[in-house]
């Protein structure tokens, strides 16, 4: 992995529609999946409302706590789209019409089509670079360690692909092992196993299959050999426990 890429990131989702339950988040899941595949550790997802003070406070907290912050939402033309203003305020720079973006919009919409709402979407914080993608004329913005993306899932996904080369490098690998024992039956040996594999992240995710306990043990790491070794030990541990149970 390149030392110049971001190794940790946070995601800031801006939008009342998520907090009111109107919309089920899709962008957080998308970003989590893609950053994992790039080997960049997503350290936090925060969802905040369309309120300037809350957005700015979250931006400040996250951009000092992680290598980079990706934001989602609030960059359209309506009154509740205030993310670009907030990013500009967080960086202490003005929000200005971006000449290159304005030219692209003028080309696309024609002079009459370039209404005030669209002109609003041509504004970037001073010093920001536009994030161009094929799904939107209006760009996202990259300034410092903050990447400002759209909330519409198709556009978010397309802009995310445009910036991903700046994140991580060698991806994380994942293995999943199906389990038909209750978690309490393997909790202790699994904990001991985790302490012998500090470089493999081991999680247990229970569910129920009818009346029976079931679930998955999930292992992830960048190192395939260590993952193989940990997986073999987990499987051996489970086999041993199952035979003990069968003999009870």
């Amino acid at each position: 992995m390149s030392p110049r890429t971001h190794q940790t990131a946070a995601l800031l989702i801006i939008g009342n529609e998520i907090l009111s339950g109107r919309t089920r988040d899709a962008n957080g899941w998308r970003a989590a999946t893609r950053l994992f595949e790039r080997g960049c550790r997503l350290g936090e997802i925060a969802v905040v409302p369309d309120e300037a003070e809350r957005i700015i406070a979250a931006l400040e907290r996250l951009r000092t706590g992680f290598d980079a912050v990706i934001t989602s939402g609030g960059i359209g033309p309506t009154h509740d789209d205030i993310t670009m203003e907030c990013v500009a305020r967080a960086f202490g720079v003005p929000l200005l019409e971006h000449a290159e973006t304005l030219a692209v919009m003028r080309e696309h919409y024609g002079e009459e089509g370039l209404n005030p709402g669209r002109r609003r979407m041509a504004r970037l914080p001073r010093g920001a670079r536009p994030i161009i993608c094929e799904r939107s004329i209006a760009p996202g913005a990259h300034i410092g360690n903050v990447y400002v993306l759209a909330g519409v899932p198709e556009i978010f996904a397309s802009q995310l692909e445009a910036i991903l080369p700046k994140f991580g490098g060698e991806g994380f690998l994942r293995r999943e092992i199906e389990v038909s024992l209750p978690e309490s039956a393997f909790a202790r040996p699994l904990g001991r196993l985790q302490s012998r594999f500090p470089d493999v992240e081991i999680g247990s995710y229970p569910s129920r299959c009818g009346d029976h306990p079931c679930g998955k043990i999930c292992l992830s790491s960048r190192d395939a050999a260590r993952l193989d070794a940990a997986e073999a030990e987990v499987r051996a541990m489970l086999t041993s426990l199952e035979s003990t149970q069968a003999n009870d």
Copy 2:
């Protein structure tokens, strides 16, 4: 609504599985929907990893910033289940086996079935009350303004119903209006309308239907009469704009 209920809340989701993209969050969406229906404002959702310092810092930040915090995840028997410990540390109290819970577990599992993993789930921060639901023997916990719930969606949902009477009261109402204009066409008049209806939250959520712009304008408020008035004005504004466009 009762003055004794929580009028604002934050949700703290604890789990590497969300941040790695392994699992798509369901509990945030569930809590957002149910709190909206109860008229309790969900002010933030934060997703953090299974790391004690990160969990405690988020708990401290959210429980001072909102009337109440609901947590999700990390209360099972495995090594990565550390939420109860973190809540105890945040409140400066020990984590102790809860006699009543232990008695319920002993009754359910029998003495031999009460293995160390299960005993671990009988521990609550001192002073906490168990949150009982029909989907789980192991309880959640309520201490101060923090409600500790399970991560498994069925159990989370069931525990959430058990605590909801303490949140909000008179629900928010929502109206949605379908739009076939690009947002930029109505952004300014919608903004003016929002400023005349400060008690109605107005959001615009664009998408694309084939090659055509489409989307929804979403209004919410506790006041049905104000919602009616705002809805009528939005519809009139859209009709006027559509006829202008048709005449262009």
